[in-house]
Structures are given as C-alpha cells and as structure tokens.
Symmetry: C2
Subunit: 444 residues, 2 copies
C-alpha cells in the first residue's frame, strides 16, 4: 500500500521542488496572468473603498475567479466595515484665487457646504501643533514635514511622516483649529494629493485634507511672504458600518490538509485611483500563484489558501474577522504571507525573526525571480494577528522606490504596473508557498 | 613628519569608510544630482549618435560639467567614429494600405528613393534564412523570433535574439533577398521600433529595418492568411568616419595617484530617443559619483576617474582609443567600472570571477542602496579591453525588467527615468570606487 501511494505521488509530481518552481516561473512569465487579472479588477471593477458598491463587486469578482481556476472552499468570511464617501466637489483655494490640489483624508468630516475659510499656520509635527495653544485658534493648521529622503522609501520615509496624516486633526483641534491640511505622504514631485486614513480622538472633529506636493510647496512659499488664507470645501460623509467580507479559496493539502498556508493581500482600496498597487497587486499575486499551481496539476502536501482581506485601509475589520475564523477552525495556520507593498520587482521576503536562519536554505532557489534573501519582518496589517496562533509570518517586499509615488493617489492605476514585475511577485509567492507546503518541516 | 601627515589626513577625512559612504548617500538622495544632469543632457543636448552634432555637443557638455565640479585632468581622448544618419521619411506599408511601424537598423544602407516592394517570407533564425535558397530570392526576409520570456530580461533575452538584428541582412542576402525586417529586440508590447547596430558581411548589402512588436504581429498574422507584400522606404546614409573623443576627468589620488580607478558609461546613443537609459544613465552615474565625492571634500587615496566613452553603439572605437591610451600611460589601471544597463534600481555588481570572493566583505556596506551582492561578470563593451592590462573589472547591474522596454527606441527619454532609482546607481558607483580607493588592497 505504501509503495503504491509513493508511486502514485510520483506519477502526479515527478519533479524536484526546484524543477516545480522553474515550471511555475516559465508558465507565469509566458502567460502574465497576474497582469490580466489586475487589469480586469482595476478597469472593470474599479476602486474598492470599504462599504462601497465597488468593494461588494470585487468580492464577487474574487469568488468567480477563484472558482474558475478550480479552487475549492471558495467562500466569504463576513465582517462589518466602515462606510465613508468622499462626495463630489471638494476643493481648496488660496487667497481667493489660487487653486490648491487637495483631497479629503479618509474618515474626515465634511466642511460646511460653503467651506471653511481661515488663515493658515504651518507646523512640522503633532507636538508643534499641540504647542500652538491660542495661536491655533480659528486657523487651518498645515502639517508640512516631508518624507525623509535618506531612506529606501518603502517604509521608513512613510513611517516617519504619516503621524501627521493620522493624528494631525486631533492634535490641531486641541488648539482650536478649524481644519487641517497635510502634505501628501510621498516622495513624488507632482501635484496629485494622496489620501489615507485619519482618526479622530476625543475632542472636536475638524475636517482634514491632503495637499499635493506642488500645492504644499506653493502654500509654504505664500506663508513665507505673509498671512495666507485658504478656503477648504469637503463634502465627505460617514454612514453606518456596512456588511462586507473577506474571500478565501484554496487547494486542499494531500498529506496535511489541516495545515494551512495563507497568501494574500487586501481587496479594499482608496477611491482616487483604482487600487492597482495598493493592494490589487497583493490580491492577484496570491490568485495567480494559486492559478499557476493548480493549472500545472500540482498537488501540495499542505493546504494552500488565497485570502483577500477586506478593509485594511479603514481599520482592519477583515483581518479581525479572519483571525476569529482562524482561531475557531479545526485546522492550524502553518504560515501566512502578505503582499501589501505593491506590484514592483520582488527584492526580499520578510519572515519572523526566529525563523530567519531556518528558511535561508531556500534563498538560492528564490533568486531567479528577484528574492535576494530573507530579512527580519513578515508581520503586516492583515497577517499580523495570526502571530498569536503560532503562525509563521512572511511578507513580500518588492522594490520600494516607486510605491509612494502612486500610493493612495489617482496614479494608482494599471498603467503604472509593469506586467513582468507583477508576475515575478506572483511567481515568488507561488515559490514560497510551494516550499512551505513541501519542505515546511524546516520551520519546526 | 609622518604623524603630521596622519593628523592632516584625519582632519580632512575624519570618518570611517562606512560613515563616508553614508554621507555620500545622504547628500545624493537629498540633491538627486544625477537626474538633474541627465535631464540637461537628454533635453538640452539631445540624442548623441556617433559622428553627429549632438555627440560633439555632448563631449563639450561632459567637459564643462566635470570642470564645474572641480575635476582635474579634464580632457579628450580622440577617436575616429562611424558616421551614419537615418534621414527622414522612412516608412513601410503592407499590402498597399497598412502602415507598419519601422525604423532603419543602425548602419543599414538605404532603399532606392521609391522604396523596395516585395513579398515577405518569415523565418526565425539566421540558419533558417540561409537555408531558404531560391525561396528567398527577391523577397523581404522577416526575422520574427521573439525574446525568450523566461529570463530576467536584462541580458539573456536580448542575447538570445539579437543575432537576427546584427546578422539578418547578411544571412538573407545569401539567398538573394532584397531587404530584411527584424522583430524589435524587446519584451514590450507597444509598437515603438527598436534600432541598434547591424553589420554587413561579404555579399550584397541589403536594407535592414526593425518592426515594432504590434507591427511584427500584424505582419505574421497577414502571412498566415496568405501572400503579403511590404513596401519599405529607408533614407539612411553612411558618411566617412568622423573625428570624435572620449572624455575623462578625475580626482587625483592622495597616496597612490598612479593607481587609477575608472568609472563610466558611453556618451553616444541611438537617435530615436535621447539615450537616457542607454547610456546617459551610465555617464551621469559616474559624473554624480565624482561630484558627490568632490563636494564632500573627500580625498581618495587612489585616483578616481570618470570616463565617458564614445561610440559604444557602432563599433567601440572609443573603447579601443581609451585602451591604447591606458596601455601607454605611466599610471596603472587598478579597476574599471562600467554602467551600461540603464538607470534603474541597482541590484548587483558584476566583478571578475577571480576577485569575487575578495570583494564579498563589502556586501553589507552596499546593501543600503540596493546592491544585494557581487556576481560573476564585470566586463562590458567599454571596460572590457582593460582586462588585458590586469585591471579588475566591475559592472553595475540595475534591475533589468524595464530596460529593453525603452532600449534603442523613441521611449528612451528622461520621462522614463526615476530620479531616485538613478541616484541610487550613482551612490552605488561612488561607494564602490570609494571602497576601491580606500580598501582596494583586498583585491591584491
């Protein structure tokens, strides 16, 4: 009986892990399926803000595509998500005549219909804003601390600046400010404003908008010349939380069906672009990985599952719902890989520090498609909670130079995605989950 | 006396090599000088085909800029270069009505003024063309073997296809063909034709043009339906060789002035774009590296020299002239780095195999700006001849996915260069030459 099982396994999967991964790569690069899917998602489904019609449509889109490629257990994991809309007609005008390029930050309250007009005062940190005291009263506080340029841009530049976006309104409200403007979170030099989540603390909720970089530069130049007023009009609106869902689909493991390897990204996006890099790319990385494995007739030992998380951008309700699901499931979550840094050329995989040395043996296999090495990391917004279940976490780290050029802006569209770079991310994902499936015992 | 010299050196250069390289990086990322220079070169000087007015202007441009940044020994190393012009009005029409997007290959002869009209026959290799015999007589031979997609695109895809471009006309002439059309050397899917050098052997010289990918696909589809004619008009012209020059400029070494470390790229380009990635990027990588080192007041132990080679594209007369110069010089050429794979994000440095293990100690220092490791290689078209002088060769290898999208086409313009990616190449260059200058004894 045993020898028969072995013979059968050989007939289905006659190759070494290295050969299998080479076959995955060859098929991926010939077909570029990740790009076809991402084009369809971004052009035909569109933006996917939590709670929107686009997000609901995208849930069905993932389910249909996973079903079409032969995934099993294709299903939704329900969650309640924030529902906020931008509205139309938002704008800002400096000193009565000069248009500034702005967008409401996600979650902001609206201005009155006629807008808010006030003098602007510039600060460079939450601390500086909080220290304004009476000087902030009745003003629009302008947070203008730029990204540190001396970084690789894929994380620390953003991390060092985005407290202004998230917490600026709360800080400024303490000194009686009436609104905030925040320099966009980018190293780009164009004038596209970049949205993103902001949160209110206790205190008064004041409107918050991002300024395109050229507009921020115009405003700071005007302030150097003297008193400057801005009229800001935002028409955003908050609705009650709405029902939505994560989507999963999988290939059941042949030997260890109860050991699950997740891979995925988040399905929701912001509304200004089409969520191509953030994070359509992460979703199709995983979907294409599953498609390649499935269409090559490969039978993984462990269960390989796509997870398209909902609502990463506005609070992570999808990640919470998935974690609860995983906590109660009879299966164990062996590993979980998240891709949420765009569809650019892969460079490294992050992995939980304690597993770093163990997975290094795989580095030579991964180099063909851009993964130079494993680095400490692995935990991101959606796979992070699974750490509590003993799951080994991985993150795909593509080259980060271009990511914040488009992130959360109208430029996050398929035209700024390179078909082969995107596919290499999918191939790297497929290779990693295949290694985890077949040789995952090295983690133990 | 000795202690005085040491004290002086310390006062000028108080930092470790690692600190110096961090200072270079910080300054580079804040100023993005490589991009400013490349924009000026590509927009204000323009294309720089060997023997053209643009190439002559670019020689002066490099000299002026090197002088401005304080380089010494700024001078020309003369060479005689091919002089070929495309002319205007080149075009191709299929079956009397359908326009094909074409461009003459560099070095091609013209068609008669009224063009050449003939039936097209498709082949996929030089061998297949040579085997045509009488079937090729009076025909236009269409070389349509695409890039292998299953590569990282930065070398082997091109290397596996470009014999058709270089040798197609010679092979086709043997069977009596009247012209050749060659599928462009690219993985892009647009219709921009990609030029590049072709060479004639003995036999008859027949006109040779590249087809944009969409046009190549149209032509092959038409041939599948039946007999297809193309009328090809090329107005190119070959002139006698023209005088031109490489340009050099340097920072003299403080301890080993006779040990020269070269860094550079080629100044000439093709005419369709502006030679932004190929190879303006390589030239400004080196110029910016010198500018950063010079403007930080650093005093290298060995001489660090920028070399802007002329005529890489049409025969390498500049590389030959530089080699002759180097052979006769009293100085020794300690190392020579070439950058000729575009201005994208750095990934590795190629280095002569026998030095590979020796330089690995530098890898951790280089990772901050994208150099993951050293790989075997190092010899390219321009630094290659120096191997014969015992020089250790290095090549900068940026990520290659986008390079052949623009290479030799109208899309090789500044708009397709990312300022920070380009600067990281310059920083990597500066770091490498600084390590070679200060710690180069590890090569011995």
């Amino acid at each position: 009986m045993f020898s028969f099982v072995v013979a059968l396994a050989i007939s289905v999967q006659p190759q070494s892990v290295e050969e299998t991964i080479k076959a995955i790569q060859k098929k991926g690069l010939a077909e570029l399926g990740a790009y076809s899917m991402l084009k369809d998602l971004t052009v035909n489904v569109g933006a996917r803000v939590s709670g929107s019609a686009g997000a609901a449509k995208s849930v069905i889109w993932v389910k249909n595509n996973l079903t079409k490629m032969g995934a099993t257990n294709v299903s939704e994991i329900a969650c309640m998500v924030p529902h906020w809309t931008r509205g139309t007609g938002e704008n800002a005008v400096m000193d009565g005549t000069i248009k500034l390029s702005i967008c409401a930050l996600g979650g902001s309250v609206a201005t009155p219909h006629s807008g808010i007009e006030a003098e602007v005062i510039e600060v460079h940190s939450l601390k500086e804003s909080e220290a304004l005291g009476d000087k902030g009263k009745g003003k629009i506080v302008f947070f203008n601390r730029p990204f540190d340029t001396n970084t690789n841009a894929s994380g620390s530049g953003y991390g060092g600046a985005n407290d202004q976006r998230v917490g600026g309104a709360t800080a400024a409200a303490k000194s009686g400010a009436v609104a905030v403007l925040v320099r966009s979170m980018t190293l780009a030099t164009d004038d596209a404003p970049h949205t993103g989540a902001m949160r209110y603390g206790e205190g008064k909720k004041i409107p918050a908008a991002a300024l395109g970089i050229q507009s921020a530069n115009k405003l700071t130049a005007a302030l150097k010349r003297g008193k400057t007023k801005v009229r800001l009009v935002l028409n955003c609106k908050k609705f009650p939380d709405a029902p939505s869902a994560n989507v999963i689909g999988e290939i059941k493991g042949s030997e260890f069906p109860n050991e699950v390897i997740c891979m995925g990204g988040h399905l929701d996006s912001w509304d200004l672009g089409r969520g191509a890099h953030d994070d359509g790319a992460g979703v199709v990385h995983a979907m294409e990985a599953l498609r390649l494995i499935k269409s090559l007739g490969l039978k993984p030992k462990r269960t390989i599952r796509v997870v398209a998380w909902m609502d990463e951008e506005q609070g992570g309700s999808g990640a919470k719902a998935y974690f609860e699901y995983a906590s109660k499931a009879s299966e164990t979550h062996f590993a979980a890989m998240e891709s949420d840094m765009g569809g650019f050329m892969p460079r490294t995989f992050g992995v939980s520090q304690e597993k770093l040395e163990k997975v290094r043996a795989w580095e030579p296999i991964l180099r063909d498609f851009g993964i130079d090495r494993f680095v400490p990391g692995g935990a991101d917004a959606d796979n992070g909670p699974l750490k509590a279940l003993g799951t080994t976490l991985f993150s795909l780290n593509p080259d980060g130079q271009r990511y914040f050029d488009v992130h959360h802006s109208r430029n996050d569209v398929i035209e700024n995605v390179h078909p082969r770079e995107l596919e290499f991310g999918a191939i790297a994902t497929a290779a990693l989950v295949w290694l985890l499936s077949e040789q995952g015992d090295i983690l133990k």
